[in-house]
Symmetry: C2
Subunit: 324 residues, 2 copies
């Protein structure tokens, strides 16, 4: 009766889930994010994914206590709008997503920032459960961050958590954001792919792009990077080493500022490469951490569903299993 819906709206895919009172996923569905059209087309695809997930769960969407959305761009839950979601088609302006989606599904819709809802999910139901404070690091196309301090999300004026744009090297590498020396300039998958392409064009040998074509991808996904590492691809190994070094410096900087109990590493790369990679990142942090006792560094445990589960936690009246 009080099942909730959650939708993780990403630039590549839309992940929907229906979550029961205990926090278990009882239905889920995934579909590609439309690459053309505009916000109404994206909203229609989100509604379709949610209906599929609800069908799998054996409920009508109208019977859900509500649906939460984790979205990129500038999210204003009070106004029900998402603005400037530039990795979505035609979404440079503002769009009343809550109203549009709520109308299509027949249930109230609540909006949150994609990274923050994923952090909330890990805190309430995932790898962050043992801790009262943590930094969530979502290592994917970019590097996003979410903060839980004293059991509550810290959002700042509205947009805290831009850990990917902490400076790890003054006058360093060019970042996709246009700035220089950001952690994401070394560790973001988009920046890593650009660097790999550049090195490959200069004559560096690598199987990265062969693997990409072989697996019918049009970009270097986390899975491609993982396979290239498994194959001992020298360029992949070098670029991952470089990313880990930057993640170590940047996350350690955040730790020195906030002294949290834990760091949780998620995102496509984090989830795919798992706890062994989280341990390597902890090793790269060690030379920079100012405290005798470093925080625990754990891989996110909810995997690709974390965003959708976290979005479902936004639904009011939820009754999570751990009483948090």
């Amino acid at each position: 009766m009080s099942a909730r819906g959650g939708i993780d709206l990403g630039g590549t895919k839309i992940q929907a889930a229906v979550v029961d009172e205990g926090g278990s996923v009882i239905g889920e569905s995934r579909r590609p994010t439309p690459r053309e059209g505009g916000p109404p087309d994206v909203a229609a695809a989100m509604a379709a994914a949610m209906r599929e997930a609800a069908k799998e769960a054996g409920v009508e969407t109208q019977a859900l206590a509500g649906v939460g959305v984790g979205s990129p761009g500038a999210v204003d839950d009070a106004a029900g709008t998402v603005s400037s979601a530039r990795n979505l088609p035609g979404w440079d302006g503002s769009f009343a997503l809550a109203k549009e989606l709520g109308g299509a599904l027949g249930t109230p819709v609540s909006l949150g920032n994609d990274v923050q809802v994923a952090t909330d999910a890990e805190f309430h139901l995932g790898a962050g459960r043992p801790y009262g404070s943590l930094i969530g690091v979502f290592w994917g196309t970019g590097v996003g961050g979410g903060l839980i301090l004293d059991g509550r999300p810290w959002l700042g004026r509205h947009a805290a958590g831009e850990i990917g744009h902490m400076v790890v090297k003054m006058d360093g590498a060019h970042c996709p954001c246009g700035r220089r020396g950001c952690m994401e300039a070394y560790a973001g998958r988009a920046a890593m792919e650009a660097k790999a392409r550049h090195e490959h064009e200069k004559g560096e040998k690598t199987d990265l792009f062969k693997l990409m074509k072989h697996h019918d991808k049009d970009r270097l996904t986390s899975g491609i990077w993982a396979r290239a590492l498994d194959h001992g691809d020298k360029l992949a190994i070098h670029l991952i080493d470089r990313a880990v070094e930057a993640l170590g410096a940047g996350i350690a900087s955040a730790v020195n500022l906030l002294d949290p109990e834990a760091v949780v590493i998620g995102g496509g790369m984090g989830t795919r490469l798992g706890q062994p990679m989280a341990d390597r990142i902890a090793g790269a942090m060690a030379p920079h951490v100012f405290f005798d006792e470093p925080p625990d560094v754990r891989v996110a445990s909810l995997g690709d569903l974390g965003g959708a589960i976290g979005a479902s936690l936004r639904v009011a009246g939820r009754d999570s299993s751990d009483g948090r």
Copy 2:
């Protein structure tokens, strides 16, 4: 009747103040920190400074509502101890400062971290009053930081705020802390003096050390740096430029993570160089800040007394003028 005492315990000087109900300083005294002996000698000097400040205020120390202390090292207020205050003589271990000082003064003593109490003072009574969240940056021998989030100090597990040891350049300059590339390695006065000495010994011309001797100092104080800048000393200008660049990158990183309303720049260097330097630091932050609206950057307004005033705020039952 409810006047409170505050003591800022520094590696160079002990600053004591008596503060009335409205937050005004009604008595103050300063004396050098003992360079020899051990914690009991430091405690005796603190008690003497407090007695002098109380005399100026026309009260007995026994009549104070209490005395707060801002201390370096590892502070445990519940236990009343300060440990590992390595810039104080013979203070590698733990010492029951609250009991010793409370006995000498006849009033309860409360202990806090030196940087955090200075941040509290700026938040409640100084440049931070208009804001609900801020990062305090104390630019002196080292670079310390204090955080106020949603109106409350954020201490992490116990030692948050080590902004000086955020990494601004991987594999960068050696920091006095033994690590590499920390903001303090470029901006801390101790690191700046070591660099100036090294460059001078290599043949670089500078009046920094002449000014130091002329003003009867044994190190490059904030006043010496300010004078050298006024004289157009090329090495001083270069090293301050380098410090400002590092402060800009490091503080911008902290801002990108926390999205606070304001940054307050204090410490010996910050206070001496004033708002024009705070504006320069804001300019150095600009290329790195991820948000369209950067936070306000203000120089601390309580000057050298901020630490002692902030320490006095630790006394329970205080009645600050702004109702915070």
